[in-house]
C-alpha cells in the first residue's frame, strides 16, 4: 500500500482534516451543519445562548462561538472549514474574514496580499 500521507512530514501552517480532527470536531461540526436549516439559523439569531444550550457543546466551543474566534473553532476544536463557513449568514463573517483570522492578519492586510480582490 503506497502511503498517501507522510505523518512525519507536517506541512507548516496546515491542518489536515482526518479521523483525528473529525472525531475531535464532531460536535462543533454537527452544530455548524445545523445552520443548513433556516429554522436553526433563526433560532440562533433569536437567542444564541439558548440555541447553544440545545447542543452538547463544550464551554471552550461556546466561548469561541461567542467570540467569533474561527481560528479557535478550526485549529483547536476540530472545526471543518466547510462546516464553520455555514455560521456566516448569522455572524456576518465570510471566508476571507475567517482566513485573515487564521493568518493572524486584519481583513485589510489579508486582502492586500491578493491579486484581484474584487473577485471576493
Amino acid at each position: 500500500m503506497a502511503a498517501q500521507r507522510d505523518k512525519s512530514r507536517t506541512i507548516p501552517g496546515t491542518t489536515i482534516f482526518d479521523g483525528v480532527e473529525s472525531r475531535k470536531g464532531y460536535r462543533i461540526n454537527k452544530f455548524a451543519m445545523s445552520f443548513t436549516k433556516p429554522k436553526n439559523r433563526e433560532a440562533f439569531t433569536a437567542d444564541e445562548e439558548a440555541y447553544m444550550d440545545s447542543w452538547s457543546l463544550s464551554e471552550q466551543e461556546r466561548q469561541f462561538l461567542r467570540d467569533r474566534d474561527y481560528r479557535g473553532l478550526i485549529e483547536e476544536c476540530g472545526g471543518n472549514i466547510y462546516m464553520i463557513m455555514k455560521l456566516g449568514t448569522c455572524t456576518g463573517h465570510g471566508l476571507y474574514h475567517v482566513g485573515a483570522q487564521l493568518r493572524g492578519q486584519t481583513f485589510k492586510e489579508f486582502m492586500a496580499t491578493r491579486t484581484a480582490s474584487g473577485a471576493r
Binding site: Q4, F17, M33, N80, K86, A119
Partner: protein, 279 residues
C-alpha cells in the same frame, strides 16, 4: 450505444455562484471568470450532450461526517438546490436520469467500484457552479445529470489512481448502455488552495499550470501524485484535483483541446479545460 463525447475540468469556487446571483459578471475582477466560460458554453451547445456526469464533492449540504461516502452516485428524477447555510441559490432544480444512473451503478458495482446510491440528493456549489457556468438554465437546464460525489474532504481519501480508474470504469459503463446518449463528464474542484491554518490562501500557479498540461497529455503522471505531495505543493484543499482524474479516466487519448484557462484572483486557482473526443 451511449458514448462519452467530451470532458471538462473546472474549479467550483462557491464565490463564483454568489457573484453570478448578484449580477457581478461584468465587474473587472470577475469578468475574466465569466468570459472564459463563454466558448465552453458555445461548444457544449454545439456538442448537444444528453447527459452530464458531474464528479464533485459535497461540502456539507446533503452529506455529513456521520456517514460520509467515499464514492456516491445520484439516482433521482430531480436534484433540488441545496441550502449550504445561506439559503438555496435561485436556480431551477436539476433534472436527473435515474434509469441511466441505475445502469451506471450496476455496471460500476459489478466492476468492483462500490458506489453508495443516493435517491434523495440536494446539490450544492461543487456541482452547481460548473453547471451554472457551462449551461444556460432559464427556464430549465438543457441536459440531464448524474452527480457522482467523491470524498475529498475527510481523510482517508481515495487515491488519485483510484479516481482515475473510476473514470475508466465510468467510460465502460457508459458504453455498455444501449441507449443513444451523448455524455459529457465534468471533473470539478481545486486547483491550488488552502482554507485552514496560517497557510490559508496558499496558491501555486506553477503546479496548477503543470497539472493543466498533464491532465491533457499525461494523466498517468498525475495518478502517481500522493495526497501528501498535492497538499505540500498546492495546499490542503487542492486534493480536490483528484476528481479531475475521474473525468480524464473516462476519456480516450484521441482528444482535441477546445479551451483552456487559468485565473487566480483570490484564494483558489481557477482552472478550466475542455476536451473533445475526436472519434
Amino acid at each position: 450505444m451511449a458514448k462519452v463525447v467530451g470532458g471538462i475540468g473546472t474549479s467550483h469556487v462557491p464565490s463564483i455562484g454568489k457573484a453570478y446571483d448578484m449580477g457581478q459578471q461584468e465587474e473587472p475582477d470577475w469578468k475574466p471568470v465569466f468570459d472564459t466560460y463563454k466558448p465552453v458554453q458555445k461548444w457544449l451547445a454545439d456538442l448537444k450532450p444528453d447527459v452530464a456526469i458531474v464528479v464533485y464533492n459535497d461540502h456539507g449540504s446533503s452529506m455529513f461526517f456521520d456517514k460520509y461516502p467515499t464514492f456516491a452516485i445520484g439516482a433521482a428524477d430531480t436534484y433540488p438546490i441545496g441550502d449550504e447555510g445561506w439559503g438555496p441559490r435561485p436556480l431551477p432544480a436539476v433534472p436527473g436520469n435515474p434509469e441511466f444512473s441505475w445502469h451506471l451503478a450496476e455496471e460500476l458495482v459489478y466492476n468492483e467500484f462500490d458506489m453508495t446510491v443516493c435517491q434523495e440528493l440536494s446539490v450544492e456549489h461543487g456541482f452547481l457552479v460548473p453547471m451554472n457556468l457551462c449551461f444556460p438554465h432559464e427556464p430549465n437546464w438543457p441536459v440531464k445529470t448524474v452527480p457522482i460525489a467523491v470524498n475529498v474532504i475527510q481523510h482517508p481519501l481515495p487515491t488519485a489512481m483510484r479516481c482515475y480508474k473510476l473514470g475508466q470504469a465510468i467510460r465502460q459503463a457508459v458504453e455498455a448502455c444501449e441507449d443513444d446518449l451523448r455524455v459529457v463528464i465534468f471533473g470539478t474542484g481545486g486547483m491550488s488552495h488552502q482554507l485552514n491554518g496560517t497557510r490559508f490562501g496558499h496558491l501555486n500557479t506553477a503546479f496548477d499550470n503543470d497539472f493543466l498540461d498533464k491532465i491533457e497529455t499525461d494523466p498517468l503522471a498525475l495518478t502517481k501524485l500522493t495526497h501528501q505531495e498535492i497538499m505540500e505543493e498546492a495546499g490542503a484543499e487542492a486534493v480536490e484535483l483528484i476528481m479531475w482524474l475521474t473525468m480524464r479516466g473516462a476519456l480516450s487519448d484521441d482528444l482535441t483541446r477546445v479551451h483552456r484557462n487559468y485565473y487566480a484572483p483570490m484564494t483558489t486557482g481557477m482552472g478550466l479545460i475542455a476536451l473533445e473526443e475526436n472519434a
